[in-house]
């Protein structure tokens, strides 16, 4: 039932608003509404029960193993939440003077420094609100850089076919043409194809490493040399930073720009869709172009914001204020809790977990997309053999896994591997949980043989059975509307 359907005209949660009906302001009547908006009229208890009940219908990290590849669904430490929600941080206005924000700015400045250390970059801006906005900031910097050197003919961005959809979308938003580069049979970029695509139009390349294929791009030095040789820049999509944290740095691989998804590698919550944060780091020659605002340490050991007037070459501002500050605070707390060694351990155990799960599934008969390769922090199974033999789809397996109490891995991505499952257990899952997940997948594989119908109709134990996405798109129902008479008692 929708909260709107629980509504009864005249019912309210009246302690929430000012008790006295204040004198209605003297607004010109032709600018005012004549009907009250159809918002729910419910009591506080109804709100509490309704949303408590809805929450219980969700899978989440706090309730389920959530091995969603490329999304790094690790534990979100609760102390990060508690400390980011300290009242002084919550109630500070974005336009308050920096003097009344030295505590906050110290955290942000130090986070910039920590991100420099883990990426190897020379300068960092925390402004982007998520990974995709970090990407956009990155390609805008590529654009600004080439224009700054009078090379505005560089209008092409190269992107491997394995890349996340945000990469080409971001490049397009920045006004670039996208050229797709194929992947070789072992999961590395097809170097020859890359080389032949390079040229005077090349602005740069966007790469994820480890790639979304769950393998480390071994030719990264050669790629960097080739792209740099052609006058292009290398952009590092940091979505997979969790797999190499403290092991190898994007800058050392030859990247010029990087974004970091704090809501992946730095364990900030994903909140059922966001907010995230996607700080960007760059080498020195790109630093002038970083999006504003940035935090600077002042001569007297204080901190201040740098804005447009301080940074005339900046690509500009991405959101009205400084980005998702509350998320940045959570990431900062996380980094301080883990510290130098703890951050390096992240990649070690994320990689251990992925390779362990891979080994268990391989020995149970599952087919790996890149069987000759080491897994990074994630890996890909292809269910093509099962699909052919038993008529089950990856979606069927994914839905059935929900019945076993595990969130499904990423399905049908990357696009180039047919019937694929991209599995990322993350470092915070225990061996017992991985064993349970492996056994569930093995049991489902047995069900493929014995009872494929069971899979076609899965899930069976969730609040709803398989939802009809085609119906959703054909018979668009995007908002509840009051039946006549409702929402008009005002």
């Amino acid at each position: 039932m929708l909260i709107q359907e629980r509504s009864r005209p005249g019912r309210r949660a009246p302690t929430q608003a000012p008790l006295q009906t204040p004198k209605l302001p003297d607004l010109p009547s032709h600018l005012c509404r004549t009907q009250r908006p159809a918002l729910p009229e419910v009591s506080e208890l109804e709100v509490m029960r309704h949303y408590t009940g809805l929450s219980q219908k969700n899978f989440s990290i706090d309730t389920h193993c959530y091995p969603l590849g490329s999304c790094t669904m690790k534990y979100n430490p609760r102390v990060c939440h508690a400390l980011a929600m300290l009242p002084a941080f919550l109630s500070r206005h974005p336009l308050a003077p920096a003097e009344q924000g030295q505590g906050l700015l110290a955290c942000l400045y130090e986070l910039q420094e920590i991100l420099k250390a883990v990426t190897g970059m020379d300068a960092v801006s925390l402004a982007p609100a998520a990974g995709a906005q970090g990407e956009l900031a990155g390609v805008l910097m590529i654009r600004a850089y080439h224009r700054g050197r009078g090379e505005s003919q560089r209008t092409e961005i190269l992107i491997p076919d394995a890349a996340h959809g945000t990469n080409p979308a971001s490049a397009a938003m920045a006004g670039f043409q996208v050229r797709e580069i194929p992947t070789g049979p072992d999961g590395d970029v097809d170097l020859a194809a890359l080389r032949s695509a390079l040229g005077p139009k090349t602005a740069g390349i966007m790469l994820t490493n480890p790639s979304t294929l769950g393998v480390f791009e071994r030719n990264i030095r050669a790629i960097a040399e080739a792209v740099h040789g052609a006058g292009g820049l290398l952009y590092y999509d940091g979505a997979n930073l969790n797999g190499i944290l403290g092991q190898v740095r994007p800058a050392d691989m030859g990247f010029d720009i990087v974004h970091v998804n704090l809501h992946k590698t730095f364990a900030t919550p994903h909140g059922g869709g966001g907010p995230g944060a996607g700080p960007v780091g760059v080498r020195a020659q790109l630093a002038p172009y970083l999006p504003v605002p940035l935090v600077e340490r002042t001569a007297d050991d204080g901190y201040r914001w740098l804005t447009e007037s301080d940074r005339p070459q900046s690509i500009g501002r991405l959101t009205a204020f400084g980005g998702n500050i509350g998320i940045l605070l959570r990431a900062y707390v996380y980094a301080r809790l883990l510290g130098r060694q703890g951050l390096s351990r992240v990649a070690e155990f994320a990689t251990l977990n992925a390779n362990y799960l891979l080994a268990r599934l391989r020995s149970a008969g599952f087919t790996l997309a890149y069987p000759t390769r080491r897994a990074s922090h994630e890996f890909i199974l292809t269910l093509k053999p099962e699909a052919r033999a038993f008529g089950v789809s990856t979606a069927d397996v994914a839905k059935r896994l929900l019945d076993y109490g595990y969130h499904a891995p990423t399905t049908y991505f990357p696009l180039l591997v047919p019937e694929c499952l991209l599995i990322e257990p993350t470092e915070t899952e225990s061996k017992q949980t991985l064993d349970g997940l492996a056994e569930a997948l093995i049991a489902i594989r047995r069900e493929c043989v014995e009872n494929p119908e069971l899979l076609h109709n899965a899930p069976h134990h969730l609040p709803v059975s398989r939802l009809d996405e085609v119906h959703a798109a054909r018979q668009l129902d995007l908002a509840w509307r009051p039946t006549v008479g409702e929402g008009s008692h005002g």
């Binding site: 607004l27 899978f59 505590g103 050392d252 959101t319 301080r336 809790l337 070690e348 061996k431």
Partner: protein, 455 residues
């Protein structure tokens, strides 16, 4: 090992299953010369107690001032229920609802949120959020250019009386696609953007006209006339609105003869703390005919195999993970948890509660403006009707006044001079429902004393 559950025995077992002798070996595909030896530059780990003490000390340094600034971020009372519910692990630690059956909680919240935004704006459809109000406007501009099939113009009329930061963000995000922003001046007397000023551009047709209600000065625009002018010039109308104001003001869907085509804005006033600027949430609504150009996630109602109603992400063919370079936007992660908070906030307040909050803000700001205007040299800059913000001129330069007020614990307003030098010494003030008569009086007395000492 913080947050890593492996015991020494388990590590040995796992390595044996993999068939390697050390974790190090798992990284053997990384060229050896690239391998890092430790994360110098990152401090040593702290215990939870230590990091708590650190952050508490930093928070103590940032004790809040009595806030009389709005300017795009508004301090409202947030009922305790809002974040106690939104912080539940099942909302807080879920991902984007890719597996609909395992995410009915999040999906229904999104659908309810969309329904509420539709109710507030009077339009047909809403998305499930964008990053913030400013980037939402930028997306709306890009959307309007795509959606406007009546003209091939890339020109957008954008009022100077729109938040300067919004104008900057729109520039950052639309300039690479060759969109031309034409700034429309405001009337120096009323503070309004007038139809005459639109006409004065001499433009025959354009892609869209941005209308900001209330505008950055808190002044109410004549939205009907502006909307009709735009439609007469083949332009789509993009409404930029404060959702709280829509408790009282005419919804964009009813502006002029045909209503605005797109409405967007900042959802922060609906249950989100100020937090130095974020996370907030942008929202966007549109007429049904434009829904396939709407950026961002959209939740839809559908049915399951048993015919029961349920929710799923829909119209994904607009999105980057399907359409890649041809998507309506690159946005992927949005501001989901903020939307959860906004939905709970609106459910608690209802139309009546929201109207009371809006009215209380109007009344408090009126009181503030009156009280301050009683001080010699201080007075309103504009004559147009206002919602919950006011522009006041001061008899002396603004920065020193605001600094002195801050030292007294008062955040006295937003200095308009850098962005609007034509206004001279002027500040934008706001008093939400949180401000008490005593605080307003305190502000007035401090300001009076400061001005007296300045002259």
């Amino acid at each position: 090992m913080p947050f890593i559950p492996h015991t020494p025995e388990e590590i040995i077992e796992m390595l044996a299953t993999i068939g390697v002798s050390s974790i190090e070996e798992l990284f053997d595909e990384i060229p050896a010369e690239l391998r890092l030896k430790g994360l110098a530059g990152v401090p040593e780990a702290l215990s939870e107690l230590e990091v708590t003490q650190l952050m508490q000390a930093r928070a103590r340094a940032d004790q809040p001032l009595i806030n009389f600034i709005g300017a795009g971020a508004y301090e409202h009372h947030i009922p305790a229920v809002v974040w106690q519910l939104a912080s539940r692990g099942e909302f807080y630690s879920a991902y984007t609802p890719y597996q609909a059956e395992a995410s009915q909680g999040t999906l229904q919240v999104l659908y309810e949120f969309q329904s509420m935004m539709v109710a507030l704006t009077g339009l047909d459809a809403a998305n499930a959020s964008l990053y913030d109000g400013a980037s939402a406007l930028a997306e709306a501009v890009l959307m309007a250019v795509r959606a406007n099939r009546q003209t091939r113009s890339d020109q957008i009329l954008i009022p100077r009386a729109l938040h300067p930061a919004y104008r900057r963000v729109v520039r950052t995000l639309t300039e690479p696609q060759g969109i031309e922003l034409i700034e429309i001046p405001y009337d120096r007397k009323t503070g309004q953007t007038q139809v005459e000023a639109l006409a004065a551009t001499g433009i025959e047709e354009c892609a869209a006209v941005v209308i900001n209600q209330p505008n950055f000065f808190g002044v109410l625009e004549e939205v009907d006339a502006l909307t009709d002018w735009a439609h007469a010039h083949q332009a789509l109308v993009i409404a930029v609105v404060n959702p709280l104001s829509l408790a009282l003001l005419k919804p964009p869907g009813e502006w002029g003869n045909r209503g605005a085509d797109i409405a967007c804005g900042e959802a922060q006033p609906l249950g989100m703390p100020l937090s130095s600027g974020g996370p907030y949430a942008g929202f966007m609504c549109c007429k049904l005919g434009h829904v396939r150009q709407l950026p961002g996630r959209i939740a839809g109602r559908t049915i399951d195999r048993a015919g029961r109603s349920g929710f799923t992400l829909t119209l994904q063919a607009r999105e980057q993970h399907i359409r890649r370079g041809k998507a309506t936007s690159n946005i992927c992660t949005n501001q989901g948890l903020m939307v959860t908070a906004a939905t709970i906030y609106l459910a608690l307040l209802g139309a009546e509660g929201l109207a009371r909050v809006a009215a209380a803000c109007c009344a408090n700001t009126s009181l503030l403006a009156e009280r301050l205007s009683a001080i010699p040299g201080v007075g309103p800059c504009f004559t147009g009707p206002c919602f919950h913000e006011r522009v006041l001129h001061l008899p002396v330069a603004v920065p020193v006044v605001l600094e002195t007020l801050a030292a007294e614990g008062i955040l006295g307003g937003f200095d308009l001079n850098p962005d609007y030098p034509e206004l001279g010494a002027a500040i934008l003030v706001c008093a939400t429902e949180l401000r008490t008569p005593e605080e307003i009086e305190r502000y007035a007395q401090c300001l009076q004393a400061i001005l007296a000492s300045q002259s």
